[in-house]
Subunit: 146 residues, 2 copies
Amino acid sequence: MYPNDGFRELERQECLRLLAQVPVGRIVHTRQALPAVLPVNFCLDGDGAVLLRTSAASELVRAVDGVVVAFEADEVDSAAHAGWSVVVTGSARVVTDPAEHARLVRTGPRSWVPSPEEVFIRIEPELVTGRELVGGRSLYGVDLAH
Amino acid sequence: MYPNDGFRELERQECLRLLAQVPVGRIVHTRQALPAVLPVNFCLDGDGAVLLRTSAASELVRAVDGVVVAFEADEVDSAAHAGWSVVVTGSARVVTDPAEHARLVRTGPRSWVPSPEEVFIRIEPELVTGRELVGGRSLYGVDLAH
């Protein structure tokens, strides 16, 4: 977070509550030594881990498996100059345990682009930070998740 | 871009046209050796450079001045499973030339959280890439910018 810049820091539970209300976030990692950003649909596991579903053959899997990544989601009302942003930073790994995979097939995110062989990527919620724009004072307190 | 994953790559001009239609994107950089992501309002300069406006005292300025960053914007329709994402990768620098600063005060982005001393950050459009989700075949060709 960047203090003293017109934003209010959000608590971890507040962050997870907001994250659970949006379908799409962005996974941030490094690709060929450059920052890479990819929007993906996701859901949260019971413990706050971010769950993605993608093709086992995707470059994303090779790029993030075993790597510390950031996962960002936000909702910004550009007319009201209000919004929030949450970032989960942690290790990403492909779910290899058959029982966990089977559970996620039932309860995890759906694929927008189904492929023959899909895997789940789990991002551990090691660091969960968030900020709410409070520059729009008149809107302070409005539930920005709606 | 990640080929063969259900997305269509976008041409540079197509990317810049889409970027020009959204008010908010996300600047991606490294902070304390971890990936950092920050939503910001922006506009494009005539040459496709991304222009941000922030407090001269902000940590963002110290974090990105002179650094290669990624700037991402997207529009995703989670109901239609359709959307686009554009990433501009290039060097970020604080605009120090008085004439350029004066021009940007007139024509550049407005601050959502005005501060006494503001600076403009310019991200050079060294690499401009984009992708459109074409998994939702029935929506292929729809103008996703609306």
